[in-house]
């Protein structure tokens, strides 16, 4: 009697834990597919304007309605996936390479490396981060490259901090001492012993930052400092629809906003799920 109860309990436990993460992963696959194949499968040309069908609410022909220039919002939302996803992915890869390596070198070697990297990190952290991104993009110009660069720069301190903490904890660990005794040089220890151990935590960080990068790019576009119209991008589309909210044309801003929310939500769930898997003590 007690045995079957506990089997049921165990099964319920395993399924409930992984359900949410599984769902997030499915969502992620959907988004990736939309990014890759979106432009080929959308019903209308995202840039084609048609003055005869402006400001139509959602209908069978235009699932998400049309905007002030008569463009189909559904197509624009799907096509925008590629741009937002690409921006997020590139900035995250960039900051992981820069910040991650800087962080573990900083945490492992200490000394001047730590001090210089710490100084750079502190200087960036002295600014409210979005404000700094605004400044960088304004100074360097409204291009996608600069958005990616700005996002990478403002996330740099966070990656440095996480990587540094992990490397620091392991710096005097027994297995690192043992590696020294086995004839490993310091840089070899860093790359073959420490890096593989911190990858799981960095993966979690990467997933969470993807979400933040999308929000950042969208925010910049919303105030006019990001991607330029008529390029479809979720943030710009919300900005374009913002004025119409007061007059009740809700669909122009809502759908890109929802897409934004869904994407970021997906990455956050994924990150949380990864964190639970990787480090059960730190569940949030």
């Amino acid at each position: 009697m007690k045995e079957s109860n506990s089997i049921l309990r165990h099964a319920r436990y395993v399924v409930s834990e992984n359900l949410v993460t599984g769902f997030a992963f499915l969502l992620f696959v959907l988004i990736a597919l939309a990014a890759l194949f979106g432009p080929y499968i959308v019903p209308h040309d995202p840039l084609a304007s048609d003055t005869a069908t402006t400001l139509r609410s959602p209908s069978f022909k235009h699932w998400f309605g049309t905007d002030q220039l008569g463009r189909d919002i559904f197509s624009r939302v799907i096509v925008a996936t590629r741009l937002d996803f690409a921006i997020a992915l590139s900035s995250v890869i960039l900051v992981f390479a820069m910040g991650g390596l800087a962080g573990i070198a900083s945490g492992f070697f200490g000394g001047w490396t730590d001090r210089i990297i710490g100084r750079i990190s502190d200087t960036i952290m002295a600014f409210p981060l979005f404000v700094l991104a605004m400044g960088i993009v304004a100074a360097l110009g409204n291009t996608v490259t600069n958005i990616v660069l700005a996002t990478a720069i403002i996330n740099f301190p966070l990656y440095v901090r996480v990587a540094r903490a992990e490397a620091n904890v392991r710096r005097e660990a027994g297995f690192v001492q043992a590696a020294r005794l086995s004839g490993n040089s310091e840089s070899r220890i860093l790359l073959t012993h420490i890096l593989p151990n911190i990858m799981p935590i960095m993966m979690v960080q990467i997933s969470l930052t993807m979400g933040y990068a999308i929000l950042n790019a969208a925010g910049l576009s919303f105030i006019g400092l990001g991607v330029r119209p008529p390029t479809p991008e979720w943030g710009i589309m919300v900005a374009e629809g913002a004025g119409n909210i007061i007059s009740g044309e809700w669909w122009i801003a809502l759908f890109p906003g929802l897409a934004l929310m869904l994407a970021v939500f997906c990455f956050n769930l994924l990150g949380d799920g990864l964190r639970d898997l990787v480090d059960p003590q730190r569940r949030t």
């Binding site: 436990y13 027994g174 590696a179 086995s182 151990n197």
Partner: protein
């Protein structure tokens, strides 16, 4: 900021009216389950324990025996995932399992208390210790608001904390480990409970501190006619302080008897195994093992003790700059403080030598400098001054970074204390053992290296199929073997062993110590055995060096030093070790 709490309304004592012949605590058929990631696990099953009034009961067992879980269940402070599914716990005739949370909170601290391992972590780090004691007193309405301060200071005095009036205002981080444990004891005894449960209270403390703390507990409990339960894995401690013993294994009670009976005539096979495996004066290494697994000792290498010493250390010093908390202003313009305040000498000019094939023990309490010394010998840290000669070469002058690349590196290796910490969690056992071979060895090619790993695994008694497992899939003893295999992979001349069995169960320790001895004899290695455990050192080492505050207090042949110590400190150390009766 720290609001004084008002005195609680006194609740009537929740004790029944019991005849003195009945035990104070009676646990019957107790079974506890835990819900884990891998399903439901039975931590303890059908456990029966009884404690009479004024008695000190010891619960002994190795890790996983369930001794701690039993006490947590009695106090009803099990983790959320744990449930008592069967049995009864009668305290003064009342069944604690049926009691409400409110009633249990009333009982805890007032009728029954508990002290734990790791005393500093057991205290609130941002609250003064005086206030923490007051919280307990006020909670159980022992004393009025005006008198509670004095009472707290009295408690601090009773647990022998010097200058209690000053120390009342101290925070835990300002006190030593031993003092923190005394504060914890004060918390537990403040309301004069009838039962005290002590869960491994001396683990992590120095031997002399350990004795002081245990003596204090015994004195206080005897004075108040309290019963106590002492949970420990250390048979010596159990023998010295307990009237009766309960032996547990894998969640079951295997034997319960008077302390003397257990030690002189153990009836259960497991108890016998435990007794036998405990290092104590008068037994040899082999006698720690069960009779059926005692292999004959390999012949000692003929080069043993011959020729010049393998390692010579002369006037070795290691200094660290002391962190001073003085403002920049004072540092620039104030008077210069004397040198002693600026510099901390971890190792203060020691000299000794180790011959080939010899096993030398380096003992001392924490902070004596033995670990720093071994680190310098390993060339993991730099020395401040002095000479380190290894086989005729002055290795002291070679900085650690350069030493890694020299062929000398493979001749000095180390076995670490914590088997879990010393293995890379992402490397299989085979990969971990192969690391020195790949870096410093002269064989390459996957198959050859694998063959050598399997050879080494066999030598240390690690089954081949475990080679592809990760550390979290191995037991403590198996991980220790992996560490040993890695250390001997390149046939070093000198192996430094830093408390290699401190984290292991006593039965596993017996096996590992025998293994270390056999390896030393068959491979002709020399050992520097760093430890705080004199009983273990007695078994494994030919000579012993006693260290204190960075200096050598005494050195000589093991039997000599341990039977007729010359120095006072050595005598103190020996007197502090609790022995099981022979």
């Amino acid at each position: 900021m720290m609001a004084r709490r008002t005195r609680k309304k006194a609740r009537p004592r929740v004790t029944g009216d019991v005849p003195t012949s009945m035990p104070l605590l009676e646990v019957r058929d107790l079974t506890v389950e835990f819900a884990t990631r891998r399903g439901v696990v039975r931590a303890i099953e059908h456990v029966d324990v009884a404690v009479a009034k004024g008695e000190t009961l010891g619960i002994v067992g190795e890790s996983g025996s369930g001794k701690s879980v039993t006490s947590y269940a009695v106090m009803r402070i099990l983790d959320r995932a744990g449930r008592i599914i069967q049995g009864s716990v009668l305290f003064s005739g009342l069944d604690l399992i049926t009691k409400s949370d409110a009633d249990m909170r009333d009982l805890r601290g007032r009728e029954m208390s508990m002290i734990f391992q790791n005393p500093r972590a057991a205290l609130n780090p941002i609250r003064k210790i005086g206030h923490q004691i007051e919280d307990v007193l006020l909670q159980h309405a022992q004393v009025g608001n005006q008198d509670v301060g004095e009472y707290a200071i009295q408690m601090l005095d009773q647990v022998q904390i010097a200058r209690p009036r000053e120390r009342y205002h101290a925070y835990p981080f300002e006190l030593s480990g031993g003092m923190c444990q005394r504060v914890v004891i004060a918390l537990a005894l403040a309301c004069r409970p009838q039962l005290l449960i002590a869960d491994e209270p001396t683990t992590g403390l120095d031997v002399t501190t350990q004795k002081a703390v245990m003596d204090l507990v015994v004195e206080l409990t005897r004075k108040r006619d309290m019963s106590s339960i002492l949970i420990t894995h250390d048979l010596g401690v159990a023998a010295a302080y307990c009237n009766r013993l309960v032996v547990m294994q894998n969640g079951h009670v295997v034997e319960t008897a008077k302390s003397q009976t257990i030690f002189s005539k153990p009836s259960h096979a497991y108890t016998r195994k435990l007794m036998r495996a405990t290092p104590r004066p008068g037994v040899s290494l082999r006698e720690l093992l069960p009779e059926d697994v005692r292999a004959p000792r390999p012949k000692a290498s003929p080069a043993r003790g011959a020729g010049a010493p393998l390692l010579t250390v002369e006037k070795l010093v290691k200094e660290y700059p002391r962190k001073r908390d003085v403002t920049l202003f004072a540092r620039l313009f104030g008077p210069k403080p004397p040198i002693e305040q600026e510099i901390f000498r971890a190792v203060d000019g020691i000299s000794f030598s180790i011959k080939r094939g010899e096993s030398v023990g380096l003992v001392g309490e924490s902070g004596c400098g033995k670990s720093t010394t071994s680190m310098m010998l390993m060339r993991l840290i730099d020395k401040s001054s002095g000479l380190i000669m290894f086989d005729g070469e002055n290795i002291g002058e070679i900085p650690p970074r350069d030493f890694t690349r020299l062929p000398l590196r493979k001749r000095i290796q180390m076995v670490f204390q914590d088997p879990t910490d010393s293995l890379n969690p992402r490397y299989t056992a085979a990969r971990a053992i192969a690391d020195p071979i790949l870096r410093l060895g002269d064989i390459s090619g996957g198959d050859e290296v694998r063959a050598r790993c399997e050879q080494l695994a066999q030598r240390v008694g690690l089954p081949n199929e475990l080679l592809d497992r990760f550390p979290h899939q191995l037991s403590g003893g198996q991980k220790a073997r992996v560490g040993i295999a890695r250390a001997i992979a390149l046939k070093p001349d000198l192996v430094v062993l830093d408390e290699p069995t401190a984290a292991l169960d006593v039965s596993v320790q017996a096996v590992v110590l025998n293994l270390l001895q056999d390896l030393k004899d068959s491979l002709g290695m020399s050992y520097l055995f760093v430890s705080h455990d004199l009983n273990v050192v007695r078994l494994l080492c030919d000579r012993v060096i006693v260290m204190r505050a960075g200096q050598i207090v005494e050195e000589g042949l093991t039997e000599q030093i341990l039977s007729e110590p010359q120095a006072n400190y050595t005598r103190e150390l020996l007197a502090a070790i609790p022995h099981p009766p022979v």
